[in-house]
Amino acid sequence: MTRGWRRWISRFVGAGVVTATVCAGCGTRAEPVVVPPEIAAVVSLRASQFREIGTAFKALTDEMQSGDPYLPSMRRSALQIRDLSRDLSSWFPTGSGPETGLDTKARAEIWKRPEDFARATSLFQTRAEEFAHTVESGDLARISAHLKALGDSCAGCHDVFRVEDD
């Protein structure tokens, strides 16, 4: 290897080390956010509760798509969604948004527009109650229509208040 090449390589390595050091500094937070344990707990709780709601929804759509839905199973899922919807507004205390740095899809809009958020959650609750009644009726056409309406109330809220991930 010639001396010229060695000089180039050492320069290249040197530049790499400097860049890496500077970049490592860029990524470091000046002051880590201290999240109260009850806030961390509620952020974790609401993620798992929404997973429960998603699971119940999937069970409902699976039944509907089967062509021969099993109503007792649909009833169980509908009641689960209704019960969870009643608690939903308590899962978003002030200070549990993206500013915590925790893993949450909640957008800051929830706390910037509390009235809109309350309206969205209330719509979901109302439709979840309606849907639970409709499932009792056993009328599949109405169940299908109300399930769609209930789903629309999820999507309507997510469009504004949840970080889009797919």
Binding site: I53, F57, K58, T61, A155, H158, R162, D165
Partner: protein
């Protein structure tokens, strides 16, 4: 080599019609799937996905039953052949070959394999609300369906990279070797390198029809979630 009446080298067949149709329909369905996903037209996204499934199934079948240039056995070569190909490329030497070059064969196969993975993930994917799902999602949990949806998104990025490489290679061949790879994929014909005795062994049309029928039947069955 055949010489035409004008004395110019004659074109010979390189890609049969099923191979070309599959290629361009895959392009069309890829764009359609992308657009329908972006616009959240999930019903249409599913339809383009089923069409994509039928196309990849047909292409795999045609890789075994199709004309010689469409067959995996004719274009999947070992690392030595790929290295040799890159050496030829560096020397701007156009090899005596008909169909995929050793690098192109692997590129096409990588795209096909990734498309299969993408379609399969879509079949099991579940949206964030648990409301929309692929036809086979009832066989997996909500969590698994969500994971499939997330990987579906990452694999789409991988597809974009593979397709970008594929297109870049086509442009490179045009600039570096003055070889237009797009025209033969449209017309089916190519002017072969001089002093060669290459020809494509064409597969009979009935085989293509049989493959199209089988691929459509399987894709149709999957679309119903195997509920008949």
């Amino acid at each position: 080599m055949d010489i035409g009446l004008s004395g110019a080298p004659q074109r010979i067949r390189v890609w049969d019609l099923p191979t070309r149709l599959t290629h361009w329909m895959l392009v069309l369905m890829f764009v359609a799937s992308w657009a329908t996903a972006e616009w959240r037209l999930l019903d249409w996204h599913k339809r383009s996905g089923y069409a994509m499934l039928a196309l990849v199934l047909f292409r795999i079948y045609w890789g075994f039953a199709g004309s010689s240039t469409a067959r995996f056995a004719s274009f999947l070569r070992g690392p030595r052949a790929v290295r040799e190909h890159f050496r030829e490329l560096a020397a701007r030497h156009r090899a005596r070959r008909l169909g995929h070059n050793p690098a192109g064969g692997w590129s096409a196969t990588a795209i096909l394999a990734t498309l299969i993975l993408q379609v399969v993930l879509g079949l099991f994917a579940v949206d964030v609300d648990g409301l929309e799902s692929g036809p086979l999602a009832r066989w997996v949990s909500f969590g698994t369906g969500r994971a499939a949806a997330r990987v579906h998104e990452s694999v789409f990025d991988a597809l974009l990279v593979l397709i970008a490489l594929h297109v870049a290679a086509v442009v490179f061949y045009l600039v570096w070797l003055r070889e237009n790879l797009v025209r033969p994929m449209i017309s089916g014909y190519v002017v072969p390198p001089p002093d060669t005795d290459l020809h494509m062994r064409a597969a009979p049309a009935w085989r293509a029809w049989l493959g199209a029928l089988l691929a459509s039947l399987v894709a149709g069955a999957v679309a119903t979630g195997f509920r008949f």
